[in-house]
């Protein structure tokens, strides 16, 4: 049962990603495919006992970040066509470089995996466990994240809001 579900969600995640690339001509559909992919990923997280992370995947990525993408699409009315990579050689180069870097990273992780997987307790991914870890061992990254979010607000305001006058 669990392996069937794994395959279903994996195929949905990859299918969503492919659908996203395939519908680039219409960016709104593209964003919706991204939501499908995110939802499938969230299900995979939940299957791994990382329940809270899975939920956050839905709330933040599917529910918030893709909404922002949609807003940008609708805001600029980008639905007509794609911004061609051929017109922007630098973008093309950065894109390829990033893709290669991510692939290498993923490959190195796959090589380092030790099977079988370590057994984790069912409590491992619960909200309370995450809270305990986050507020003791990972306190510094947590506070830094707070500063980062504040910086993001300031930056967004600086870009979007001109002084009156």
């Amino acid at each position: 049962m669990e392996s069937i579900l794994f395959w279903v969600f994996s195929i949905a995640a990859i299918g969503g990603a492919l659908g996203m690339v395939g519908t680039l001509r219409n960016t709104v559909y593209s964003a919706l495919w991204l939501v499908v992919s995110m939802l499938a990923l969230a299900c995979l997280f939940i299957m791994l006992n990382a329940q809270f992370v899975g939920l956050i995947q839905i709330m933040v990525y599917a529910g918030a970040i893709v909404v922002l993408f949609l807003f940008v699409v609708m805001l600029l009315n980008l639905t007509g066509g794609v911004m061609g990579a051929e017109e922007q050689p630098l973008l093309k180069f950065v894109g390829v470089a990033l893709a290669v870097a991510v692939s290498l990273q993923l490959g190195s992780i796959l090589l380092r995996i030790e099977l079988p997987w370590p057994e984790v307790s069912p409590e491992y991914g619960t909200t309370a466990e995450i809270g305990r870890a986050l507020y003791t061992d990972y306190l510094l990254p947590f506070e830094v994240a707070g500063v980062l979010l504040l910086a993001a607000i300031v930056a967004a305001l600086a870009m979007a809001k001109r002084e009156r006058g």
């Binding site: 669990e2 939940i46 809270f52 956050i56 709330m59 933040v60 529910g63 918030a64 970040i65 909404v67 922002l68 807003f71 940008v72 609708m74 805001l75 600029l76 009315n77 639905t79 909200t127 309370a128 995450i130 809270g131 305990r132 986050l134 507020y135 306190l139 947590f142 506070e143 994240a145 707070g146 500063v147 979010l149 504040l150 993001a152 607000i153 300031v154 967004a156 305001l157 979007a160 809001k161 009156r164």
Partner: protein, 117 residues
């Protein structure tokens, strides 16, 4: 994982019912199409402008503030759950985070990003 069996059943039932209603209406409904009926509603006129235009940037500001605050709230859920166990230490470590949240809100307020005019 047993709780997800019920959840799956509930989701299947909900989605199935809604889908059934959608299919029923498209099967049972009549189909009488002509150009005037197919026109989008515009108070009896033919639409003058396309709805696909650029829209004000303040909607984008709402979306970006939403993301930032949503992320901060997400960090606070685990904190709220373990708050009693952490005690005064919990309040102490969350104080910088909460004050940054408040500063962000105050800054937006001061800059007029929350005004809707």
């Amino acid at each position: 994982m047993s709780e997800y069996a019920g959840l799956g059943l509930f989701m299947a039932l909900g989605a199935g019912t809604i889908l059934l209603l959608l299919v029923l209406t498209s099967v049972l409904g009549p189909r009488l199409r002509f150009a005037e009926k197919d026109e989008p509603f515009e108070c009896g006129e033919s639409p003058l402008v396309s709805p696909y235009r650029r829209f004000p940037v303040k909607f984008y500001m709402v979306a970006i503030s939403f993301i930032i605050f949503d992320l901060e709230v997400v960090f606070l859920y685990p904190w709220a759950v373990v708050f009693r166990d952490l005690g005064w230490y919990g309040l102490l470590v969350a104080a910088p985070f909460l004050s940054m949240l408040s500063i962000a809100l105050a800054y937006e307020w001061m800059k007029g990003a929350l005004e809707w005019d």
